[in-house]
């Protein structure tokens, strides 16, 4: 019986059928039940199952896009919890994107960065300051707040400013290696947060500890974006852009340079790879994804203050990368999704449930032990468990597989080769 089942699962079509059934059932459950976190999570996990199905990559992407753009938002829209699902999904998108950015730095280039959230903050503040009257305090020209259309330009500005911050921090920080690098980046991460915390005097730039409220919502075709289901789509598009770019980078000359630097700096340098430039590029590109999502985060929350950018956030993103699999793009996506959902859904659900129980007098658990406050404990336990039993993460990084046949066929068309070389030289 077991064998036949195993055999059955080997076939592409049986996999597809089971997958369809799974998706149909979980989405129907989500749609018709008024509020079912389980159904929501099952539907999300169909994306993971999709990753393992034996289909062509293109087909998988098309199915994934269908799930993400149509089915997930539609199936969640059935009950009153629609916006909260969409909010969680948006946060997942934001964190996945950030984790992918950090993965470039830590996973690919092997530079342990414990202050990564600084770049998220830089992105978030760059939009918040200009999309509120805050900018009028120090800008000699222009009228503030800027309109909601500026959001789209700020996506790019946020990315660029974060990248510049990455380079500026990188130049002093990259002189040190290994453990020292981790400590120095941690320091810089804190410095940036404290800078934002104190930049309200003498000129009020960042609103200090009070933060910045009433950030102008983004606008598209005159429609302001306020609801989580609207931000869901914005985040999704940026996330897809991030994934696409990261995959391109990984398989490129640059991705190989990063890995080479990670594997052996001296040998990489002896092969003509400039260390500082390569590391700075990792810092800058990783930071830019984070900065972009910072802009989205600020717009979505409509309020930011320095407490959103603490050391714990940097650790959280790092845990996502380590848990998912350092250097592995699918792994990091999964890791970030798991941790975000754990944080925002599972732990909060557990906390309300425990609360209800204690209200009912069934059990009594002190406030301090509420699941919502166990975050650090759980991260710690997860990290230890993974370091011991699965050091390469949930989905370990894989090298690109080169097709021997394709490489073997020596260029039979002579002219093909020569024109190639000409083109490359020009």
């Amino acid at each position: 019986m077991k064998e036949t089942l195993a055999k059955f699962l080997q076939y592409k079509w049986s996999q597809v059928i089971l997958f369809t059934v799974f998706v149909a059932v979980s989405s129907a459950a989500l749609f018709f039940s008024q509020k079912s976190v389980t159904a929501f999570l099952l539907l999300l996990s169909s994306l993971l199952i999709l990753h393992y199905i034996k289909l062509k990559n293109v087909t998988k992407w098309i199915i994934a896009l269908g799930l993400l753009f149509i089915l997930i938002p539609f199936a969640s829209s059935g009950g009153p919890a629609f916006q909260s699902y969409m909010d969680v999904a948006t946060m997942v998108g934001i964190y996945v994107s950030m984790a992918l950015g950090l993965n470039i730095v830590v996973g690919m280039a092997g530079l342990l960065d414990l202050g990564f959230v600084a770049f998220f903050a830089v992105g978030a503040y760059s939009y918040s300051i200009f999309a509120t009257p805050q900018a009028a305090n120090f800008m000699p020209f222009g009228t503030y707040p800027l309109g909601g259309e500026s959001f789209w330009i700020f996506l790019i500005i946020g990315g660029v400013v974060a990248a510049i911050a990455g380079v500026l921090i990188g130049i002093p920080v990259l002189r040190v290696k290994g453990d020292y690098l981790a400590i120095v980046t941690l320091g810089f991460g804190e410095i940036i947060r404290i800078l934002f915390n104190n930049a309200d005097k003498p000129v009020n730039i960042t609103g200090g500890a009070m933060g910045i409220a009433s950030v102008t919502p983004p606008e598209i075709f005159g429609i302001p974006l306020i609801f989580p289901n609207q931000f869901y789509f914005v985040t999704l598009v940026i996330l897809l852009f991030t994934i696409f770019t990261v995959l391109r980078l990984e398989r490129s000359k640059l991705g190989r340079s990063w890995k080479a630097v990670r594997e052996n700096e001296i040998a990489a340098q002896a092969m003509g790879i400039p260390l500082v430039k390569t590391k700075l590029l990792a810092f800058a590109l990783g930071a830019s994804f984070s900065g972009m999502m910072g802009v989205v985060f600020a717009a979505k929350q409509a309020f930011i203050d320095p407490t959103s950018f603490t050391l714990l956030e940097s650790f959280t993103i790092l845990v996502m990368v380590v848990l998912g699999g350092m250097g592995s793009v699918p792994g990091v996506i999964l890791g970030a999704a798991v941790i975000t959902i754990l944080n925002l859904q599972v732990l909060t659900e557990l906390a309300t449930w425990v609360n209800q129980l204690s209200f009912g007098g069934v059990i009594s658990i002190p406030e301090a032990l509420s699941p919502a406050k166990m975050q650090k404990f759980i991260f710690g336990a997860l990290l230890v468990a993974f370091a011991l039993y699965r050091p390469k993460g949930l989905i370990p990084a894989k090298n690109k597989i080169f097709d021997e046949k394709k490489l073997k066929e020596s260029s039979t068309h002579k002219d093909f080769k020569t024109t190639d070389q000409k083109k490359i030289q020009s």
Binding site: L254, A260, Q269, A270, M271, A397, N399, F402, L407
Partner: protein, 258 residues
């Protein structure tokens, strides 16, 4: 015509002089060996040529241009490549990726080309991959192209390091004890590879080696270092019979006995 001219280089590590006034010329297209007892300063000499260390004094010129002050990656771009005494492969990367990294100096694509996956970038990659594969074939490593480099046998790792170094299309290649840890069969194969390297890859070779049979068989010119100083140089026959060399290797008094 000489490709590399080293004049009076000295390297001091605090009180220790690892190289003292070493001068040598490497003829273009030749195979030159640097030999000497352990701790003689051979690897330090290589490290100065490749920019890992800056000499305390002296000059190093590749085709007439000084290499002083250049970083290792800049030296690599000028056309000097190397292998390491303690193998330094990119262990977690696949065999072919290791060679592809060696080709980076020859790849012209930039960030824009990578993001947009421009046709020129794609073609350049494909060409590089094919060339990398041919290099692997040359070293009998092609069947392992998708293996992780750290999973190769010791001898295969040494060969991969040479393949990677050749991938940079160097004018001069420095091999630091290429035969160390190889079995006799592997050493024979390697000897043949190095012997033909000059013609096949249009490269001059400078190597450090303790295996005297290999050195005597393939070198046209040999330089002997002892305690950081050059004590002799010449062709294999001259070196074999040089009393100073025998003394350095076997200890004083050995000359009489031999």
């Amino acid at each position: 015509m000489s490709i590399l001219e080293v004049t009076n280089i000295t390297k001091k590590f605090g009180g220790l002089t690892a190289n003292q006034d070493v001068t040598m010329n490497i003829e273009k297209g030749s195979i030159t060996a640097v030999i000497g007892p352990n701790g003689a300063g051979k690897t330090t000499f290589f490290n100065m040529i490749t920019g890992v260390y800056q000499p305390t004094s002296g000059d190093i010129r590749l085709e007439g241009k000084s290499l002083l002050g250049l970083k290792p990656d800049e030296v690599a771009k000028r056309g000097i490549s190397r292998t390491f005494q303690n193998i330094r492969l990119f262990g977690e990367m696949s065999v072919i990726e290791n060679v592809l990294v060696g080709m980076h100096t020859g790849l012209k694509t930039n960030l824009l080309g990578i993001f947009l996956n421009l046709p020129t970038t794609k073609k350049e990659e494909l060409l590089a991959e094919k060339e990398a594969y041919r290099l692997l074939e040359h070293f009998d490593l092609a069947p392992f192209l998708n293996e992780k480099a750290c999973n190769l046998s010791y001898g295969a790792q040494r060969k991969l390091e040479i393949a990677r170094a050749l991938a940079t299309k160097p004018k001069l290649i420095l091999l630091d004890e290429p035969a160390a840890g190889m079995n006799p069969a592997e050493t024979r194969e390697l000897t043949a590879i190095i012997k033909n390297m000059g013609q096949e890859f249009n490269v001059s070779v400078l190597l450090i080696e303790h295996d005297m049979k290999l050195v005597m068989e393939i070198s046209e010119h040999i330089v002997v270092l002892d305690h950081g100083e050059k004590i002799a140089e010449g062709n294999p026959e001259e070196i074999r019979t040089n009393p100073k060399v025998i003394e350095a290797y076997l200890g004083s008094g050995a000359v009489q006995t031999v």
